[in-house]
């Protein structure tokens, strides 16, 4: 029952993977170091900055606060898993179009949190966008354009046909987690 190495099976960005992970390794470490998915960033390592945000069974979580072993049997979406066939999602395009990226370090986490928001609340108010991104810090303080990018993605042509934010993540949560 107790062991140093743990065998897990996870689906990462649509691909099933059987892995041996160290019991004490976080999901973040395994994604980056074992699977080479370095789009997910390590920053504060204490659940405050959101740079490591990924979707686990459709829910946005801090991958630094989750053991890889806890992800056994789960479906994980990282920033690498959003684009399909080399085509960015409307949300990603919107980040580019709005110039929402400065140094870029927080952006994968921002995009994942925004994706989670739009998956469950396709037309958020500005307040809801702020609430939805409250767990993600940008040290460049580029919040205005980040919020604008999410707003634009939510009101863009894609959104009106319902495919601006293709949910690749199941639908574990009902709408408006961000609402208070």
């Amino acid at each position: 029952m107790e062991s140093e190495a743990v065998a897990i099976t996870v689906t990462v960005n649509g691909m099933s993977r059987s892995l041996q992970v160290q019991a004490s390794h976080t999901l973040l470490k395994v994604l980056r170091d074992q699977l080479g998915l370095t789009g997910t960033k390590e920053c504060c390592s204490m659940g405050e900055c959101g740079a490591c945000t990924v979707l686990v069974d459709g829910r946005a979580v801090n991958s630094c606060l989750m053991l890889a072993a806890e992800a056994d049997g789960c479906e994980i979406t990282t920033i690498e898993g959003l684009a399909m066939d080399g085509r960015l999602t409307a949300l990603q395009e919107s980040f580019l179009a709005e110039g929402a990226v400065q140094c870029g370090f927080c952006i994968p986490g921002m995009v994942m949190s925004a994706q989670y928001l739009l998956d469950h609340n396709p037309h958020p108010t500005e307040e809801e966008i702020k609430e939805g991104l409250a767990g993600n810090l940008c040290r460049c303080a580029g919040y205005t354009r980040i919020i604008e990018a999410v707003r634009a993605a939510s009101s863009g042509a894609g959104a009106s046909t319902g495919d601006a934010a293709p949910s690749k993540t199941g639908s574990a949560a009902p709408s408006k987690d961000a609402g208070k």
Binding site: G47, M66, A134
Partner: protein, 295 residues
């Protein structure tokens, strides 16, 4: 990844499938074991060197523990593994215990609430834990299971001090129970932070008023453990209560608090804001009691 090299990250992980197995592990390792539900406090503590468990026992595969919220005749039972994000949007929680929903929505961030559990927030026993004031005014109780059997402890008797509870080393919290309202009532949660998002509370508190006039307050971050203060006189709910008498009565209830100065606020500021936030919570609780706006 520097974090994982910190002391304590050499723990072994146990993933028991049954309660019996989990309790066996707990009694074998005692204080050298830590229980894992959401992990949002535990992993931070391990990384900071504040916890160095030999074994971490992941409770999520224990067959008898669950994440359901079950309504019985006289109470609502929240399974130990229910996520804060699910609790905060459950229609019964929103309907019966809107102040709890308000407080749950302030814990950490969305990412944290998508992992964190109520027993985790309770057993971490931070004096500033945001869910505690609402749970306390609603007279929540905690169900525990040990090898010797089960017991239920009123949440008001659960906390001994920062990080310290009456949970024994060989016990596991299986659920949190909230008695259903017996009549009309209203409750509201208030919180003071330095910034709005993802901050620990400088003060948090909850007020609950019942039609009988019974008024309960619970205050967080103003003592070594959350403080409950009750005014059964009915005077705080009386229409036409003057501001002066209201403040005098609230101040009496606040005598049980013992705010200190720390990185988040001075003692004086906390003392002043306790009154302000208590007024607000009382006002919103009364609005809800009256069935008016205030949600």
């Amino acid at each position: 990844m520097p974090g994982d090299a910190s002391p304590g990250f050499g723990f072994r992980l146990a993933r028991p499938r049954s309660m019996e197995e989990a309790l066996d592990l707990l009694s074998r390792y005692g204080p050298r074991a830590r229980l894992l539900a959401g992990g949002t406090d535990l992993l931070v503590q391990v990384r900071a060197g504040k916890a160095a468990p030999e074994v971490v026992i992941d409770l999520k595969k224990v067959s008898t523990l669950h994440s359901d919220i079950v309504q019985e005749d006289s109470f609502l039972e929240i399974g130990a593994l229910a996520l804060l994000s699910d609790i905060g949007r459950d229609p019964r929680i929103l309907g019966f215990f809107p102040a709890l929903a308000e407080s749950v929505a302030t814990v950490g961030s969305i990412q944290i609430r998508n992992r964190a559990t109520l027993p985790g927030n309770i057993c971490n026993a931070s004096p500033a834990a945001d869910t505690l004031p609402a749970l306390l005014v609603h007279e929540a109780s905690v169900s525990l299971q040990g090898r010797g059997g089960k017991r239920t402890v009123a949440l008001s008797d659960f906390f001994l001090g920062p990080g310290k509870t009456v949970r024994r080393d060989d016990e596991i919290v299986t659920s949190v129970r909230l008695p259903l309202p017996k009549g009309r009532e209203g409750a509201a949660f208030e919180r003071l932070t330095r910034r709005r998002g993802v901050d620990l509370a400088t003060i948090n508190l909850c007020c609950r008023v019942e039609q009988s006039g019974m008024t309960r307050f619970a205050f967080g971050a103003v003592g070594p453990r959350p403080v409950v203060a009750v005014d059964p006189s009915g005077k705080l709910t009386r229409p036409g209560l003057g501001a002066e008498e209201r403040d005098r009565r609230i101040r009496e209830l606040l005598q049980k608090t013992s705010p200190i100065s720390d990185v988040r606020a001075s003692r004086d500021y906390r003392t002043a804001m306790l009154l302000v936030l208590s007024r607000r919570a009382l006002e919103r609780a009364l609005q809800r009691l009256a069935g008016g706006e205030g949600a």
